[in-house]
Amino acid sequence: MFNLIRRDLILQKRQLLIFAPFVCFFIFMNSHPALIFLIASVFIPLNTYAYDEKAETNILLNSLPYTRKEIIASRYVGAVVYMVLSIGFSSLALFIFNKPFTVTDMAIGSSLFLLFAALTFPLFYILKPGYISTVVIIGFIVTVILFQAAENFLAQHLTAITEFVTGLSTTTLYAGSAVAVLTLYAVSWIISSVIYFRKAF
């Protein structure tokens, strides 16, 4: 399975060259650090799916000595691995350019990424090849817009929400969101496995 995850780096040699400028662009744009973490995390998995929506890729992977379970697992584990690496890289870049960020930003960025991954990954196995990238890219843009809208919404209706949130302890809040996100990710993993298992190539 490690090979399947490593495969993404070999496949995306060229794309990785634009990874650094891509992240730096958002840093210079003074984007919210959480958003930068999210964008950086999405980069590799999304590129992987651009390859993997092709029928040939699935025929190849399924003809090699891998089980379908492993192929799906490599996507989900790989996404987390690359998320960690991307967030590490982005933090370094933010630090170098002297932009402030907090651990909370990281937590929000990675939670949003996992949420995004949990919602979109199964789509790749449901939708027909060719449409998937479009759907996901549009989906991603919508998510980002919603994220900003949510920020505005939060700013406006802060009192009601803060009242609710302050009612909870910080730990409960973080732990609760973490559990929710991870559960969703796990459910998504299971759904993808079931769909992929039944697929014909």
């Binding site: 496949l11 040939e56 025929i59 190849l60 399924n62 003809s63 090699l64 000595p65 039944r198 014909a200």
Partner: protein
């Protein structure tokens, strides 16, 4: 004799096409040619052998193992060559090797290097710049570099020029010398099989018409030619299909001795080529 592939009572249905209760055995150490018209079910059968497609019913056994419990062990020992390129076309061969090689426990780097040299494959050019023949050689080099015991090829010669086809046949023949390898080879170009096939499996509309050694095929099927006056409802019974012309008839029989009994020396009996068999069987039994 040992069977490397066994399909037992396998069924798979799609909209407008189905394979019903197919039994197919592929014998170890021999080349089995899998023939049939386009759309007859060759690719579907091969996909079921590769577990790219699951049968609705029935059992698929490869090297004595089933996919439910031994998927990795089976695929470790299969080499595959598909009609089109399945490798990431933007990558060069070196990178493809870096992706594919670690998947196999038994990958042999020096053997791969040897085939790359023998096939004159460039390591640093993207696969999409390769000709069809070269892409096929890439698949073959990969299949051979992990010591595959069963090589499954889906239309490997389609779109290849005659010289390339011949080279491929030479190579396959060399592979058969030690007797450890089995080749299952689908094609609609039957002349490819004249030279190397030991067994012929013939599929038509999702149904396996026969799976016989080339000697059995030659002994069972023949072309019969004679005058129209010889044909009547009774004599036609020994023919699979009859083609009539003002100059006489030509028919395919799957029962040579019956034809000899009925017509004696009044007809000419000739060897039927695989193409003749495919053509006449498509016409259906006793269709006029």
């Amino acid at each position: 004799m040992e069977n490397v592939v066994e399909l037992n009572n396998v069924s798979k249905s799609f909209k407008g096409f189905s394979i019903d209760h197919m039994d197919l055995q592929v014998k170890k150490g021999f080349v089995t040619g899998f023939i049939g018209a386009n759309g007859a079910g060759k690719s579907t059968t091969i996909k079921m052998m590769m577990n790219l497609l699951r049968p609705d019913n029935g059992e698929v056994k490869i090297l004595g193992l089933d996919y439910e419990t031994h998927e990795k062990a089976i695929k470790e020992r299969i080499g595959f060559v598909y009609d089109g390129n399945v490798f990431f076309e933007g990558l060069n061969l070196k990178d493809i090797k870096r992706i594919v090689a670690p998947a196999y426990k038994s990958w042999d780097h020096s053997l791969f290097a040897q085939y790359v040299e023998q096939f004159e494959l460039p390591l640093n050019k993207p696969i999409k710049t390769f000709s069809k023949g070269m892409q096929m050689k890439v698949s073959l080099a990969i299949a051979l570099s992990h010591h595959a015991e069963l090589i499954i090829m889906d239309e490997p010669t389609a779109g290849l020029d005659p010289i390339f086809r011949r080279e491929l046949l030479d190579l396959l023949q060399e592979l058969m010398v030690d007797g450890e390898r089995t080749i299952f080879f689908s094609t609609h170009i039957t002349t490819d099989l004249d030279r190397i096939a030991d067994y012929i499996a013939f599929i038509q509309n999702g149904e396996l018409i026969f799976n016989q050694s080339i000697h059995e095929v030659a002994e069972n099927y023949a072309l019969v030619k004679g005058g129209m006056e010889l044909l009547d409802r009774d004599t036609e019974k020994s023919f699979v299909h009859v083609h009539r012309a003002p100059t006489g008839f030509e028919a395919l029989t799957d029962n040579i001795s019956a034809v000899k009994n009925t017509f004696g020396n009044e007809v000419i009996i000739e060897r039927a080529s695989l193409e003749d068999i495919m053509y006449y069987v498509k016409g259906g039994k006793n269709v006029v």
